[in-house]
């Protein structure tokens, strides 16, 4: 398990290669990259600031990955989340999951993203032509997380 919260950008290709390197049991790597869009809720977004709760962030992400490892047969997982100032087309988050089979890899990758969206202490503030504004949580994100409950 690799978890990193950082200001620096990441190279998704390098991270995915490192995740699967040297383990011939891995048959599947599912990954997700979240990016800053230039439009959100009808306003143009010029920039965004990602704030977090440093003492809690790593702990929360570790708990989410541990829960995914308990639910599916995983062979590795990388989560990288950026903080600080970000601009349209910038990468925000990478989740990459390795497994023997694709069903486990896909499910765990989507599970981690859904929990990260509702459980990890990050907050986005957007700069728009109308001024700065905090991003509102989406009901669809709550619903996406809720569907994993047994």
């Amino acid at each position: 398990m690799k978890i990193s919260v950082q200001e620096a950008d990441f190279d998704a290709g390098v991270e995915i290669s490192a995740l699967r390197a040297g383990n011939p049991q891995i048959g599947a790597v599912a990954s997700f990259i979240g990016l800053v869009r230039d439009m959100n809720d009808g306003s143009r977004v010029a920039a965004m600031t990602l704030e977090h709760y440093p003492a809690m962030t790593h702990k929360a992400l570790s708990a989410i990955v541990a829960e995914a490892e308990a639910r599916w047969a995983l062979l590795g997982c990388t989560v990288i989340h950026r903080v600080g100032a970000l601009f349209p087309t910038d990468q925000i988050v990478l989740v990459a999951v390795a497994s023997s089979h694709r069903a486990d890899a896909f499910a765990a990758c989507e599970f981690i993203m859904d929990y990260l969206k509702t459980q990890a202490p990050f907050w986005k503030k957007e700069r728009t032509p109308e001024g700065e504004r905090w991003v509102e949580p989406r009901v669809t994100d709550e619903q996406a997380q809720a569907r994993w409950a047994e």
């Binding site: 809690m56 990260l116 905090w134």
Partner: protein
Amino acid sequence: MNIKVLYFARLRERFGISEEVLELPDSMAMVAMLLDVLRARGGEWAEALAAGQNFRVAVNQDMAAMNAPLEADDEVAIFPPVTGG
């Protein structure tokens, strides 16, 4: 007992403070009671933390419910719903 309280994002801005240490009577060792103390300040505090307002509480870096117990030197964080990813 002393409780460290942290505020993030929109709540940090509304309260104009990111961190403080509160001294609570030992008999008020529950998240809900800490919130009552903060609401008693009135103004933004009463409004943003009113029942029905959408905020979250973490105790020692874990999400916590209103009836979660508090101990001396705990770290309590109060923040809006998260929006990362």
